[in-house]
């Protein structure tokens, strides 16, 4: 238990006053010389035990009443956050601070955000109990341990300011464990200030089990305390957030898919302001149902606008300002390039046609032979199509990997050679993809595609609800593919994948098992190959043409290059790990839009029981602090002591009452 006025506890010595008074009174009783002592002694003997017990109880009640009164005046705070924290005066306090956008939700009065509330309470706790303890701050945005001096004010640190990055609580705990492992034997505690947002805590993730093992491996037990800013639901239910899902430039216009998250239970209409390249905005009223609403907005660009640019969608102010602004970038009008690296032949031609039909000015295809792969313009190519044997070349593998990891799209088709085995009998692979020997379909038969992913991916249904006609494909030869870590997105009737895909960092690789060659299939027919490749081109277009769409916290492309903040002018930080906005590379050739992660709009929280269930054996102490204006000092524990005073005094009064006199008078004394 801690006290707000600990000095007053010195007055507990006064609790000895009743005892002292009792002892003094024993000496101060009026003395009377008594003759009838034999009766007095007899009566005294009879009541001695009970009388002594009564005296002891009375004295005890008086002492306890006095002690309880002094304790109440000293304002014990065991019931509040300050009483919960810092019971054991640790040497080191690792403070994991959640400064994700959801922590900017303000209270019902709109005066203080959860983050500000957390700073206030943590500052007070560190002042009260942090004296002598080393404080190490790890915030959810920068994730860098920062040692604080005794004079540091939490509210003045940029590391406790607002940020647009989502919090990864298991990740922060991992960093804390690494820090503690470097300083073994320290008596440390971990404090976590968070709003218990489910997406931040990831309670279903298996990482908690490995975290628990890591804690067990530490030499000392590290208590974990959570200050849960669970917030006032009233303000949260009036919050609306916006997020950009997809951006596509179509000539002189851009198509933006926006997702709105309406936390209220009612349908609302709000004005949304669209802004292009920092100019004056246009406003549009948008009707939102409760929950999530997606709208597609077409924004016309100026006729002279051929270059890449950026824009924003802004909502009116509400309890959380961080999710009211969504940024997007759009590419320039330069055609999107597809590099078709294939052995000369029908397949190569048809693949080039599918990638860049003659009628599409916005598309171009560069045909290269396999030996010319180094001519690929990696930075300006949206899609690389490889159709040949996979060379055993580390440089090739490395270049492809780098391209894909930075957002490029790679489509691999089987070589037309009979055997896919390379030199030395080794089956080469590219990014975990290798083909088996190609096989013909049974005589008078074919391989039929019967199942594919219609909801997402390159074979998803079109906007009008129709689907690519994979089931109409006529495949007479195929080369089964193995893809390490891949998932099949279409299956033949015998459950062999028709196509598999795998995401590698910002990009993805998709492997097909047949060719658009009459000796293999009619892949170019039936509206299958063309939309699939176009979708891959569009996905790859995000990294070219100057436009990228990322979340705050994700690495900007070309790691190591200096990216600078272009917009907004009043960003909370120039750091792309912290602030959403538009960033440009040092050559101002590329733009990237960093947004608040969409999961930050989710209102699901985990409760105290779920927090305690994260670890099997290690307890986590949670203090749930509602963001209200209730005084932090209004801890109920002092009232307990005040009531105790009354109870003790009442009991003391009862015990002090003189016993009832009366009853039958003694016959021998009645005459008197």
């Amino acid at each position: 238990m801690q006290f707000l006025n600990p000095l007053i506890l010195g007055a507990l010595l006064l609790a000895a006053i009743p005892v002292i008074i009792h002892l003094i009174n024993k000496r101060r009783h009026r003395t009377i010389k008594w003759g009838a002592m034999m009766f007095l002694l007899q009566a005294n003997r009879q009541s001695k035990g009970r009388r002594r017990l009564r005296h002891i109880l009375i004295l005890t009640c008086r002492v306890l009443a006095l002690a309880a009164l002094i304790t109440a005046i000293a304002r014990p705070i065991a019931g509040g956050w300050l009483g919960w924290a810092g019971n054991n005066s640790p040497e080191t306090i690792i403070l994991l601070f959640d400064r994700s956008p959801s922590m900017e939700i303000t209270d019902a009065l709109g005066e203080q955000s959860k983050r500000a509330n957390a700073i206030e309470r943590l500052s007070k706790a560190l002042r009260e109990f942090g004296g002598g303890a080393k404080v190490v701050l790890i915030d959810s945005a920068t994730r860098e341990p920062l040692s604080l001096s005794n004079s540091t004010k939490l509210e003045e640190l940029p590391q406790t300011g607002p940020s647009d990055a989502a919090a990864d609580i298991p990740g922060l705990l991992t960093i804390a464990i690494d820090y503690l492992s470097a300083s073994p034997g320290e008596n440390a505690e971990i404090w976590i200030a968070s709003d218990l947002q489910e997406s931040n805590w990831q309670p279903q993730s298996g990482v908690w089990q490995s975290l628990e093992k890591s804690f067990e491996n530490l030499p000392t037990d590290i208590p974990i305390r959570v200050l849960a800013l669970t917030g006032d639901s009233a303000s949260e239910t009036s919050n609306v957030g916006v997020n950009v899902q997809r951006v596509e430039r179509q000539g002189g216009a851009i198509i933006v898919d926006l997702q709105f998250n309406n936390q209220s239970s009612q349908e609302i209409t709000i004005p949304v302001t669209f802004n292009i390249d920092g100019g004056s905005g246009t406003q549009q009223s948008v009707r939102l149902s409760a929950g999530t609403t997606t709208i597609r907005k077409r924004i016309e660009l100026a006729d002279s606008n051929n270059s890449a640019g950026f824009g924003s969608a802004t909502l009116p102010a509400d309890p959380n300002s961080r999710d009211n602004l969504a940024w997007f970038t759009y590419g320039n009008l330069a055609p999107l390039v597809t590099a078709v690296v294939a052995e000369p032949g029908t397949a190569a031609d048809r693949l080039a046609i599918a990638a860049a039909p003659a009628a599409f000015n916005s598309r171009s295809a560069l045909k290269l032979t396999p030996s010319e792969w180094q001519r690929i313009d990696w930075e300006n190519t949206s899609l690389v199509i490889w159709q040949d044997a996979i060379p055993q070349d580390d440089a090739f593998e490395s270049a492809m990997r780098s391209y894909v990891e930075r957002g490029g799209q790679l489509a691999i088709f089987p070589p037309s050679k009979v055997s896919a085995v390379g030199e030395g009998g080794v089956r080469p692979s590219l990014l975990g993809v290798f083909f088996a020997d190609n096989e013909p379909a049974p005589l008078d038969g074919q391989f039929s595609v019967t199942d594919w992913n219609k909801d997402s991916g390159i074979f998803a249904n079109f906007d009008d609800g129709s689907s690519p006609a994979l089931n109409s494909l006529f495949v007479i030869r195929r080369a089964p593919v193995s893809m390490e870590g891949g998932i099949a997105i279409a299956l033949y009737s015998d459950d062999v994948p028709f196509a598999s895909t795998r995401r590698i960092k910002a990009g993805s690789v998709t492997a097909f098992t047949s060719l658009p060659d009459d000796r293999w299939s009619d892949l170019l027919q039936h509206n299958v190959m063309f939309p699939a490749l176009q979708r891959m081109i569009m996905a790859g277009a995000n990294r070219v043409g100057g436009a990228r769409l990322l979340n705050v916290g994700e690495s900007l492309p070309s790691a190591g290059e200096d990216w600078k903040l272009v917009a907004p002018a009043d960003a909370i930080s120039n750091d792309s790990l912290v602030s959403a906005g538009i960033y440009a590379d040092k050559d101002e050739k590329f733009l990237a839009a960093l947004n608040v992660p969409s999961e930050e709009a989710a209102s699901q929280r985990i409760d105290v029981d779920q927090v305690n269930a994260l670890f099997e054996a290690k307890p986590i102490r949670v203090f749930e602090e509602r963001v209200t204006r209730e005084s932090n000092l209004a801890s109920p524990i002092w009232r307990f002591f005040a009531y105790a005073v009354l109870v003790f005094l009442f009991i003391e009064g009862l015990l002090s009452l003189p016993p009832k006199r009366g009853g039958e008078p003694d016959p021998e004394l009645a005459a008197f």
Binding site: W34, G35, M37, F39, R51, R54, G663, P667, E668
Partner: protein
């Protein structure tokens, strides 16, 4: 009473005197001169007249001077002072009546005995002894009574003035001893009103007048038990006196002692038959 001087007290023994006492049947060996012929004429039976013999009163006053007798509450006289007045008054009256009076003082240091004398100057001796008597220490009244019972051969009136704060069974034995030796016993039990009422308004430190006991007691909590114990004791004392056919008087020291004396003497007047 037996004695060599004729006093004013009727003796229970029948002898030759002028006052007729009663008839009894003649038995061979009786003095025929005492035959009542008129009774024979009336009843045709032989009866002897009995007459009351007038003898001297021999009295002994036993005064208890133990520490408890020194108690008094407020401005009242102590029990011992009260006892002294009673004793001195009784001594005077006895000597005035031509009877013999002696005094035994029961004290911690032992019993002091003054023999019974008829001489008027004996009063001064008695008064001197009373004046020197102080209430102190613990004495043993039962022992004094036993000693008196053995020493006084002739039947006497034993007047005991005490608070009788002694074990009832010991007192009973002493009284019965006196009674067995055919003594007449009058017992004055002196009590201070506060010893009865135990009226205190706050805890007191009670110091034993007869010893070193000290008790701090809250009257509120102990009063009932004290009174119960006192009542039990008084009842036992009364019963012991009744069993020993003693003339028992319970006296509160706020009652004028002359009234007590008057009541005592009046009660001892011979009853007319």
């Amino acid at each position: 009473m037996l004695g060599t001087v004729s006093g004013r007290h009727k003796s229970p023994h029948c002898g030759s005197s002028i006052e007729f006492a009663e008839y009894r049947k003649y038995v061979p060996g009786d003095d025929t001169r005492r035959l009542d012929w008129r009774a024979y004429a009336r009843s045709d039976r032989f009866y002897i007249k009995e007459f009351e013999a007038e003898t001297n009163l021999r009295a002994y006053i036993v005064i208890d001077s133990s520490g408890s007798m020194g108690f008094s509450a407020g401005d009242r006289m102590t029990k011992l002072d009260y006892a002294k007045r009673l004793a001195s008054s009784l001594a005077y009256l006895t000597l005035q009546g031509g009877d013999a009076i002696g005094l035994s003082r029961c004290a911690e240091s032992g019993t002091v005995n003054l023999p019974a004398r008829r001489n008027p100057s004996h009063l001064e001796v008695i008064l001197d002894l009373l004046e020197d008597t102080q209430a102190e220490g613990s004495a043993s009244l039962p022992d004094t009574l036993h000693e008196l019972a053995e020493k006084v051969r002739q039947r006497a009136l034993i007047i005991i003035i005490s608070d009788f704060f002694y074990p009832p069974n010991e007192l009973r034995d002493a009284l019965l001893h006196l009674r067995f030796n055919k003594h007449d016993i009058a017992a004055f039990q002196l009590l201070d009103p506060q010893e009865i009422t135990f009226a205190f308004d706050r805890p007191q430190r009670f110091v034993d007048l007869e010893g070193s006991e000290v008790v701090i007691a809250d009257p509120n909590t102990i009063s009932e038990r004290y009174k119960s114990a006192l009542s039990t004791f008084l009842e036992a004392t009364r019963r012991n006196c009744m069993d020993s056919k003693s003339d028992y008087h319970r006296v509160l020291t706020d009652k004028p002692y002359d009234e007590v004396l008057a009541d005592f003497l009046t009660a001892r007047l011979p009853k007319k038959r």
